[in-house]
Assembly symmetry: D4
Homo-oligomer: 248 residues x 8
Amino acid sequence: MNAEHITRLLRNVSDGSLSVEEAVHQLRVMPYEDLGFAKIDTHRALRAGFPEVIFCQGKTREQVAEIMLSLTNHNSKALATRATREMFDAVSAVVPDAVWHEAARLIVVDRADKPPDDGKYVMVLCAGTADMPVAEEAAVTAETMGSRVERAYDVGVAGLHRLLDRKDKLLGANVLVVIAGMEGALASVVGGLVNRPVIAVPTSIGYGASFEGIAPLLTMLNCCAAGVAVVNIDNGFGAGYFAHLVNK
Amino acid sequence: MNAEHITRLLRNVSDGSLSVEEAVHQLRVMPYEDLGFAKIDTHRALRAGFPEVIFCQGKTREQVAEIMLSLTNHNSKALATRATREMFDAVSAVVPDAVWHEAARLIVVDRADKPPDDGKYVMVLCAGTADMPVAEEAAVTAETMGSRVERAYDVGVAGLHRLLDRKDKLLGANVLVVIAGMEGALASVVGGLVNRPVIAVPTSIGYGASFEGIAPLLTMLNCCAAGVAVVNIDNGFGAGYFAHLVNK
Amino acid sequence: MNAEHITRLLRNVSDGSLSVEEAVHQLRVMPYEDLGFAKIDTHRALRAGFPEVIFCQGKTREQVAEIMLSLTNHNSKALATRATREMFDAVSAVVPDAVWHEAARLIVVDRADKPPDDGKYVMVLCAGTADMPVAEEAAVTAETMGSRVERAYDVGVAGLHRLLDRKDKLLGANVLVVIAGMEGALASVVGGLVNRPVIAVPTSIGYGASFEGIAPLLTMLNCCAAGVAVVNIDNGFGAGYFAHLVNK
Amino acid sequence: MNAEHITRLLRNVSDGSLSVEEAVHQLRVMPYEDLGFAKIDTHRALRAGFPEVIFCQGKTREQVAEIMLSLTNHNSKALATRATREMFDAVSAVVPDAVWHEAARLIVVDRADKPPDDGKYVMVLCAGTADMPVAEEAAVTAETMGSRVERAYDVGVAGLHRLLDRKDKLLGANVLVVIAGMEGALASVVGGLVNRPVIAVPTSIGYGASFEGIAPLLTMLNCCAAGVAVVNIDNGFGAGYFAHLVNK
Amino acid sequence: MNAEHITRLLRNVSDGSLSVEEAVHQLRVMPYEDLGFAKIDTHRALRAGFPEVIFCQGKTREQVAEIMLSLTNHNSKALATRATREMFDAVSAVVPDAVWHEAARLIVVDRADKPPDDGKYVMVLCAGTADMPVAEEAAVTAETMGSRVERAYDVGVAGLHRLLDRKDKLLGANVLVVIAGMEGALASVVGGLVNRPVIAVPTSIGYGASFEGIAPLLTMLNCCAAGVAVVNIDNGFGAGYFAHLVNK
Amino acid sequence: MNAEHITRLLRNVSDGSLSVEEAVHQLRVMPYEDLGFAKIDTHRALRAGFPEVIFCQGKTREQVAEIMLSLTNHNSKALATRATREMFDAVSAVVPDAVWHEAARLIVVDRADKPPDDGKYVMVLCAGTADMPVAEEAAVTAETMGSRVERAYDVGVAGLHRLLDRKDKLLGANVLVVIAGMEGALASVVGGLVNRPVIAVPTSIGYGASFEGIAPLLTMLNCCAAGVAVVNIDNGFGAGYFAHLVNK
Amino acid sequence: MNAEHITRLLRNVSDGSLSVEEAVHQLRVMPYEDLGFAKIDTHRALRAGFPEVIFCQGKTREQVAEIMLSLTNHNSKALATRATREMFDAVSAVVPDAVWHEAARLIVVDRADKPPDDGKYVMVLCAGTADMPVAEEAAVTAETMGSRVERAYDVGVAGLHRLLDRKDKLLGANVLVVIAGMEGALASVVGGLVNRPVIAVPTSIGYGASFEGIAPLLTMLNCCAAGVAVVNIDNGFGAGYFAHLVNK
Amino acid sequence: MNAEHITRLLRNVSDGSLSVEEAVHQLRVMPYEDLGFAKIDTHRALRAGFPEVIFCQGKTREQVAEIMLSLTNHNSKALATRATREMFDAVSAVVPDAVWHEAARLIVVDRADKPPDDGKYVMVLCAGTADMPVAEEAAVTAETMGSRVERAYDVGVAGLHRLLDRKDKLLGANVLVVIAGMEGALASVVGGLVNRPVIAVPTSIGYGASFEGIAPLLTMLNCCAAGVAVVNIDNGFGAGYFAHLVNK
């Protein structure tokens, strides 16, 4: 398309219907994306599987509904994070096939055909039940993008056998997302058990010296097992997105 | 081998040469790894492409040489990080085919055949020339593990055109490692341009309010572009290792 | 039981009713805990005196009631921390002998016989009346586990004589829990007076530069008297639990 | 006026109507500002274009209305920051020509003639839509002081082309205000593109490790592009004020 | 030049000597800067008055000398910051007209004609004599760029009269740079006295709770006087550069 | 009284009405304060002018009323800090001559004769009107203890002349309390003007990088003027108390 | 002795050889410890097993030698922590039976008979070889005090099987000391495996975001397993001392 | 003198020898201090007992010697803090009666007559022997200014009886300086014992989580005893200066 645009311009120069001076001017003011580069909004869906994701926090329910409607007009998938039930009701009124994921606080529209199972899956683990909203945000994000997801929740290191019981699932995963609050030691243990990339997500669960997630964040950054990288505190969406990029 | 060990034990039970009671005892005290689980030290090389990596900081040159010798007896590859020239000299005396990477501070032994090029590569970018040691640590680590690596150094956001000139290389990479000190904004910009996983490495380069790497660390954790995960400050090795896991 | 399981398997190999190959497979997939190790949930009560403790924060009152009911079906004791009055009401409906400790925010079920008094006791001290909820959480936890507890509240260092008046009780304790907010100096003073282990609990009581408990936390970690160890801010439960482990 | 005051006093000494002793006394107790120095409240409007700005946070609506009335009695312009709709209603009742800027949370009175356009303008950019209140505070402040302002909102670095599309506006600005939360990388990129002063404003927008604006604050302070200075977190007013001082 | 480049390409298309397809390709791979945008390295000198500045820290004296030689081949001015005497000696050997500013740790080459004095000047103030190196870095940077600079050193707020004695110089400045360590209060006081932009530079001078410059940094960011913006700790160069941009 | 107690005991030993053994026992169990040392609660009023001060935060209104009643039974003065209007109403019902200081959030009972004016006074200054509650807490505390207090509010350094206008009052004070939020520079300026002790109180007034009072706290601790000491953030009571101790 | 002192005084009163007034005076000035309380230095050895421990850091070798000589004159044991080889040489010259523990940096004198083995032991674990000096400080301290110690070093969670192989030793320990740097996850895992008190020691081993031990400190404070308490960073002595108090 | 200056000017106006216009001009440019205000350098000695104090850190020995010589030409006392032995040697060569205080790192010149003893004294206490340099800096500073000083060193709270033994000295002091590192609890205990102002000085003595003095700084700021104010970490001079201001 862009190439077409430029080609047409050059043809016009070639056939004399456009002066060289005017062509120079048009090339200079041409929007950047027309020059063939990078992650252009309208191209995004083609590459990553879905368009701009809506971060709902700080938006009104009307705004969320409007953007979702607009996105679903041009894309087969759409995702809204940190949504509320009220936002979903507003979206649902205009996009009837939108789905509400309560725990994950996500609104999902997915009209695409399910990709065939190639055996690869993302494994999402979390340490405590209180970490589940973040874990679900990661899992549903990866699923919406097209990855198969396996879950193992409440497998914190204080009861190590619960984790070790999942050894087959763990070892078979293509990429893993490990979510933990409090002291966040689960990422280190999992990172020491597997040989695939581990994405660690600290959560703000805890009290006192967990400092709203700083404690598990530092734990995960200092993870003594290689193969672990970290995203922002409570950023389940980012981890699920990253995991899908690795998995696809 | 482990399976063999257990099979032999069971055969002995089966043929009566070992009593059931003694077999129960042997199974209980058998080293954990013999039961087939996880990332066992002696299995590590088979999976990830090389054995335990030596973190040289805090070790004597004699210790480093000894461990390298031992590792190269059983493996075709070995890697020592944060090494000094003096450590390399000591290693070189006993492992003559060890190679010294000055900028990366790495000692590498690689007797394996080069894997065929499948077109996939890790792209390593850094913002300033002062970030180069960390960048080289990442690049050589990934190369030693078997990945093809492309480099683009000194492409910080203060001179955006230098980065944009590499657009083709950027867009073609399978996974990217972005290394930056000072304010670390490069990860955000690269994360916004590509649709593959980006591993961000903050460095301790900078002064004043960069606080030995805290500033770029926070920048990268808060990266507004999805698809970016972070490793510890100056942890080039960790980023290269993670990138190879994604790339292979 | 586990030993039985393995023995049976081996007997089957021994008598030919199970092939060696099948036995190898069964051993590999056998749940970890069957191999005789460690702190298995259902074993926990046998050792420590009570099962999993429920951390109520972030749970619904229905969830708390359900878990308490389940726990008390298999154990003679149960403990729920950071509970609310409403949670207690829900528990009380299904576990009529549950007891509510208002100040400690604990729900306790204790159907065990009281252990005979061996003269050993845990001493719980707190600096100000505002620290009392944390102190009671520590004291009731230790009591529920089976320790005798002596209390001395409002004995902060600004009125040193109030503490010194308790000298006999202090010197007779087997282990001490010292709870203080603001600047947390009480732990240092008590640590200097006694020769038994002191567990220090910083509280979030204070304002300004107490930073929600960081000030007393640092004070206690830097305690110039030997024999003092620290738990998380406001973690009365953890201190009471630790004290009982020392005392029993 | 001050000069007049002193001159009159000296004339009285000169003509004998005031004794030397009394004149010494009067000079000593004379208010500081009468001696000709500096930024005197009543002089402020003459120099900067408007008088004391009201910081509404922590004031009652009555207080705000009263001060606005008083200010507008002596000045052709007045500005109240961090105002609420209710405060505006109170002001409006006594100063009917006051104008309410919802997004900017500003109450503005401007009875001055618009200055002739000299082609110079302040450019205000922000990274995300959530940063808009701070951006509008900056923009309206600069406009009220008498600067022409151009706006470019939602041009964060995750979609670099959106920023680059504004290149002409960017390069033509006399001074730029760049507002960003999360990781704040926009200031670095803009600072690398232009050759005029850039005033960076970190915002408290973000979550987790953005720490209420600390992350973008550090990013901006460590900006690797020269020509960037920083104001306090969320301080749109300060940035707009500073920009006008540069622009006039 | 760039326009010429594109015009020539288009002419070739126009006269048939270049095919449309080949022209499309050439446009796509054309270096970004050729399209007329932004702050291109080789353009930098034309706009800001001098080329890339060399940050010497972490470079060898040979590297510094080589870059200085290269820069001075194409520019009439060059600047190297955080230099050592040894670096200057190396530069001096190949660039004989380089000048050494001991206190400012700057190497300067300036072959340009001095701009005519338009009366505008940058005022550089510092609180204590220990802040002088940072102050000189700011002053010499602004002078090298072409601004007139007035200095007032050792005018900290503990001896307020020393500052107030400079009132005429202060009020006459077009832009001010205020440098202070310890508690950094000087920026607030100066900001309250003048009506021109004030650039505040915290320094790492101090001890104990000045935390290597954090104390004055926070002071300056929270400055209650409007019209003050802040650069990084000890960043005299950045302040001088910013001040010149405002002043020119 | 204590001396009497001991004397009586010794007389009993002396006249044989008490055995030596019984006397040894009585001396050992005698409350610490009876041995003549230090700041005994019931002695406190005699020395400092009033008894234990009630810190109301975290207490019920009934508790506050009860303690005030008890204190005023044995003392001519009583003070309750961080009180609410509701607490005062409860106190007032049982202690009719209690006085409510709205701005200072203090409840005061003062039945003592006013001490004769010896010319010495405490000067309380604050930077902004928002700092007034803390300033009033300091002022009323010192007054209740018996000091004369002079006030100068809203004299922040952004309008230096307002402070300098009070020069006579400042220079005449025996001890000064300086209260400031935001950047807290007022303490440095006042400390540089006077030669008497200055007690600095940082307040949590401000936003962004003032970090709830950390910025002014650091400013005040690093004060370059000698003769300044600091109390906790918002601790007006502590400053007023300390000032009275110096003044009396 | 003290009782004797007081008894003698009272007898003198009783027999008239001491006046009541003089007795009152003597009681008032009598040293505090004579009244029977607390942890008096000369009593310390009787209770804890050895006297004041010497913290060598900041002392000269002469001072260390002198204090050791003095201590060993009155005690059968003595301990000096954070010592250097040079200090030991100086001590050795005057106390020939002093023993040097290189790794632990301890000087030990132990002339006491070894206590009979009661089967109870302290288990000291550390995560990496770099943590060994702190681990040895803990182990030798506990041994010198009279506890039996078992060691398990280099058992970090990245190679979980190495830890699990020690399961019998772990489960048999009476009290455990867990030492770890980097992310400190070992304490959580061990705390989840055992049912005895665990004393966690964060070390300053690590780099980047381990912040000289803050990362493992926070990890350990937030430990999700109950029964874990924490001492200061690198405080091996404190942990060994505490462990012995629990063990004895 | 100043008054004379102004009077003379006014007389000249009065008698016609100076025109009104010229007088206006002279008044405007007259140095600020001539108008009678505040703490003028040359007045300082008259009030506080000695002139500007030299902070030696960062100065050459020649500079220190020169300033000391200059100060002692106009004053009977002079003080240099944070000095080295080498600096003293340089001073001694030109000011032969300068005295060196090794522990306090102070150079003192004192030619004034000793003031008569009025019974009032400053008490300086420190917790450990390592805090002695700071304690001596405080003590010698106060002595040089003219206060009597009593010392009590090594009286930390871990051995409370050592402090309590000094009860008479403590209770008799007019003002107290309490110096402590590690956890800084001594200030709280002393503040609870006395009824005079306590100036607390945190020191950087300690390790791990004492964070170079932050731990005792927070302890002291949160001191639960009223009557305690704090100076910067290691600021013995500031404490001694403040104490003398209170004491005189």
